[in-house]
Subunit: 84 residues, 2 copies
């Protein structure tokens, strides 16, 4: 059993309106900063997962995303296992 | 001039209370999932930045973080340049 450090990023699905992203992009434009386009704003979670392998750690995270952390109608996610 | 894809992660500073992280960790425990500890919840932003080099892109993002995106009293950030 090892402890895996996971970074989870949850962001709006492609095609779903992202009002937070639009608001931040508008605020950047308001600063008169040129050449910057903010596309998406999402959530970041860091967690430790006890598992026997990277694959098992990913399965645990997938299960948590389905049951709790992600709304699959509007959001998509990527989980990075540190050092994997 | 090139366009750099930046992923920015803003999270609570070490030692600052993270009620969002605590709430999510509590919800995970409520599912009776064992061996998972949620540490931090933060924000994720993806953006395109026009710049002459990776270094210039990072400077533009640092400037934006200082002026708008990050509260340095409570938060810390990391910017990843895609492909760098």
């Amino acid at each position: 059993m090892a402890t895996y450090k996971i970074e989870l990023i949850v962001k709006p699905k492609a095609g779903v309106r992202d009002p937070q992203g639009e608001a931040v992009d508008g605020a950047v434009k308001g600063l008169e900063v040129k050449g910057v386009k903010v596309h998406q704003v999402g959530r970041y979670l860091s967690m430790d997962v006890d598992a026997r392998s990277t694959d098992e750690a990913k399965r645990i995270v997938d299960d948590l995303c389905k049951r709790l952390l992600v709304n699959p109608n509007l959001e998509t996610y990527t989980a990075r296992v540190e050092g994997a």
